[in-house]
Symmetry: D2
Subunit: 343 residues, 4 copies
Amino acid sequence: MIKVGIIGGTGYTGVELLRILATHPHVELEVITSRAEAGTAVSAMFPSLRRFVNLDFVAPDDAGLEKCDVIFSATPNGVAMTYARRLLQAGVRMIDIAADFRLKDPEQWAKWYGMEHQCPDLLQQAVYGLPEVNRGEIKKARLVANPGCYPTSITLALLPLLEASLVDGTDLIADAKSGVSGAGRAAKVGNLFAEVAESFKAYAVSGHRHGPEIEQTLSTLAGEAVAVTFVPHLVPMIRGIHSTVYALPRQQIEDIQGLYEKRYADEPFVDVMPAGSHPETRSVRVSNTCRIAVHHPESRGRIVVLAVIDNLVKGAAGQAIQNMNLMFNLDEDSGLATPATLP
Amino acid sequence: MIKVGIIGGTGYTGVELLRILATHPHVELEVITSRAEAGTAVSAMFPSLRRFVNLDFVAPDDAGLEKCDVIFSATPNGVAMTYARRLLQAGVRMIDIAADFRLKDPEQWAKWYGMEHQCPDLLQQAVYGLPEVNRGEIKKARLVANPGCYPTSITLALLPLLEASLVDGTDLIADAKSGVSGAGRAAKVGNLFAEVAESFKAYAVSGHRHGPEIEQTLSTLAGEAVAVTFVPHLVPMIRGIHSTVYALPRQQIEDIQGLYEKRYADEPFVDVMPAGSHPETRSVRVSNTCRIAVHHPESRGRIVVLAVIDNLVKGAAGQAIQNMNLMFNLDEDSGLATPATLP
Amino acid sequence: MIKVGIIGGTGYTGVELLRILATHPHVELEVITSRAEAGTAVSAMFPSLRRFVNLDFVAPDDAGLEKCDVIFSATPNGVAMTYARRLLQAGVRMIDIAADFRLKDPEQWAKWYGMEHQCPDLLQQAVYGLPEVNRGEIKKARLVANPGCYPTSITLALLPLLEASLVDGTDLIADAKSGVSGAGRAAKVGNLFAEVAESFKAYAVSGHRHGPEIEQTLSTLAGEAVAVTFVPHLVPMIRGIHSTVYALPRQQIEDIQGLYEKRYADEPFVDVMPAGSHPETRSVRVSNTCRIAVHHPESRGRIVVLAVIDNLVKGAAGQAIQNMNLMFNLDEDSGLATPATLP
Amino acid sequence: MIKVGIIGGTGYTGVELLRILATHPHVELEVITSRAEAGTAVSAMFPSLRRFVNLDFVAPDDAGLEKCDVIFSATPNGVAMTYARRLLQAGVRMIDIAADFRLKDPEQWAKWYGMEHQCPDLLQQAVYGLPEVNRGEIKKARLVANPGCYPTSITLALLPLLEASLVDGTDLIADAKSGVSGAGRAAKVGNLFAEVAESFKAYAVSGHRHGPEIEQTLSTLAGEAVAVTFVPHLVPMIRGIHSTVYALPRQQIEDIQGLYEKRYADEPFVDVMPAGSHPETRSVRVSNTCRIAVHHPESRGRIVVLAVIDNLVKGAAGQAIQNMNLMFNLDEDSGLATPATLP
């Protein structure tokens, strides 16, 4: 059994990690930290976990994290980097579900996250944990940067086109829509039920932290610098991301459906829908699957790709566990082989 | 492996059965019928099941249901009784998730369901599938009447008090609230999103089919005729039932919390919450658990019991599978041992 | 034109007051205070009011509240009582939408609101602002205590029965359900969208501040002490309260429908629905109406009364304006004569 | 008083028309037709209108529509054209809120609406009822084609840029999101609460009827053929449309904010938000306003325009009444001068 620890388990990513790990056949949950909730039973905060998780939250300092085989960090940005060096030196592998190790350029990181990076050398060592792109490296990684939720869906939507150099990379448009759990469990007026229910809005049009992350990955895939106009929106639902991506073909593309099906044929968690489909976010709710449909409306220039994920699973906790499975040579879908819940 | 068939799998109970059975370790899904959808792939109708269920719907007549070990009937009321005798004679066990075999009195049944019962003799043979009451009989049953969603939550809420004759059975009040999936997947104006979202209402105050079912079970438990004022309400959410039950004690009750904890100590799917709790329906969402909290507000006469279930799981498909597990001597929680999904 | 001021206008009651007053034909909005938002334009915080409200929030000390004819206090509990004496002495009338003047007994008040009352003498002078009960007194009042949202719906539901001494007042049950806006606009984890959407729960079963307020009014109406088992619940919707009230008749009641219709025949904001109705909260959304249906299910003892209001209108801002209209001899429905918005 | 009739008043546009007209100061509601509901009281179907609308639905043949000054048609597509000639000949003005008179080309109309047009000559005579474009013609019109909900928001979003020839018209992208009431009140499985709540999806990517309508108007504004990639999405909320529009400037644009503010300075129902804003659909809920924000993210090519409307008001019934006000020389905002309802 793999000994697992979690840093910062009181948010939505934390409880989702706990939910999946609780029935993972190869994992023993050792420790979960929370400075604010030290001493509280996990199941007192999250009654959904009664009879499944018997741990109490402990203060980070008393946690004995070094005894674990792997640590998931599910904290706000800027915390994982204060633990990383110590844990890696102790031989513990680390998967950061926040953004501390996603960008390669420390100056970019400082600009977007508003603080200096504490271990810029580790930025280079960290592997970007998108298995559909980096499976081989993830298997050998000691430090994995779990991708953001928007970047996961947008990258998977564009990957086949960019790898094959079929579209113009200088004018990509990603219109993305997320459920409210993506905003986290912090007490903010803007995320109150009475503020966001029965309403819809865009946000951060002038620039969102996931923008440089998306462009970094897509540029690597394309082999040249790409530019993405990325506009995130808030949907009055708890879970789910729907990315609608618009790309201009450089040339006539013969079998775009076949291109996607072929590229993802062996991927356990990417499902290319039949031509003409409109995937719903609920078709992936509480599952680690990304479903994709690709459209090329007659007589129009733009290819339209629709990609849906559950932001807390493939967009956070589930993908982190997929990465753990790879790092420890387990079946890639171990603990994750369950259908979505619908309705 | 147990060979399972499903009659009428295009509703919410059907897709929930499929979801749970798809990963049940001791089950092989053989056949699923739908007259209207014969020939359609299950996963075309429910993309959430892609890669998990590879069956097509078949017309009932071609289904070969007799080759199964057990049939779940997830049809509208009045259909299961047209299959029951034939299947039982063929040695197939049957679990009806609709209401055909819930009431013992055929006249009552005809009154509430608006048609004559076609096999009143089987009403006597059928076992009411509430394991917390009838576990022993369920294990031996060939025909199980799976309880209604409201009756499940209300019976579990009152059971310890009635078994111990501690409350007045002539003036019980059950104020119950259900998510909209309880109304089924039929196309009705009243269940449109724009009709039920951002609204709340009671319905069927003059009488609901679950009323006689509740009174039948509670009267048996109490050993005398009980009367329940039962008012169901519709909540703008998909899943979940919350029953708030009011009972007047016949006498001073010393340790009502202990009474509940003791009664349910060995029950795998009933969780008595700590004193003072207010269980949320989300704490049981997509799980087979019923969580109960019992209150006796100071200086007031009424005991208040709060009970929550997922209407599609413990209130329908999950309880049906719990019954199947009992009938086939499997672990009672086989396929059902997963935590609720929160948020 | 009546000069109106608002103390504490940044919550949901505040914005609802502003919305209604903005088109009220006899009102001039003079000033609105907020210590935290002083200097902010009202329409910057609430873009829905752009072009309708041109005021900025001002600090209370600079507000010149004494120049107004009437002040609405839409602050948290405990604030209005610090302004009341000064304003009343300056000849300004006051309508407190919070709870400072609702209870007559200062000890009860201190117990439930956790602080000493600062002007217990004014508790006696204050008129409880439920026009259907106290219309005459409200017209003459200088200080009005606007009722709570739950008490408004529950009192209107029971009033005809209690006035006529037709039911047992010692075992009343009020099972009430409220939308989330009733919890206010404060940043609390418990009111986040991802916490309350797709879920339902009871709260404060052991005792809620509106309990003594309900019993105070009902006891006066009944002419004897009544006891109400009051259980509030949280509904995943923004606006609306649905109270389901259970009362045991003392005797055969011949024409309960006629009793309600007669009692409320002249009330502009109480609508007795036809016999057999189930009022939906959306039928009163964004309106000042309370709709009531009364049921007496055959062969059962309990009368069941269903009452719906919009908690922010008849349960708060609308009723406050109805009270203002009465205090200033305007048409009682001035500014309030608009239908509910459906869907 | 203007005598008003409504054809087909049982849908969401119908009830919204009734809600606004009920308090319109210059209107008398004469008649409302429904073949299926003839004889039913309007307020029995829509209790929100009790005390405000006292009409019964009547069969179209008995309706005496010719006695009205103006008829609103709120039927499914294809019905208004069967009434138009007769009503116009009788001197009645007509506002069709469905699509019968929106497209100028009868072949296009037949292609997208699946039937032959019955009075192609009237297509030329009909005025497209977008006051911000056609105010002068609407004032003189006898037959107005009320615009679609998506076209209203997308046209208002792009109008200033296209009129000034500032953007490339051959690669416009309109990613639009609508609440569920836009799908109407028909009983369809796809619009059930349990199907669309907690989910998000695109639809009709291969082509939507509003596409040619959008391109027709935008081409006229631009003075050249434009091409729009239009992708509609379904949001789990009742009301509201949010259109996110992406346009590529042909040249450096100096003061894009000023361009929008100037263009809409005199428009009573278009509100240009301050630079950097993100309008929420709730900021226009139940109001006739369109709020627009224009962004040009630094160092990126695309201009991003955000436009929100209430699909049932500015996107249907409200705009129809705005058109009626213009046609009858009333104040343009008569009956419509109310703030949005928030929360």
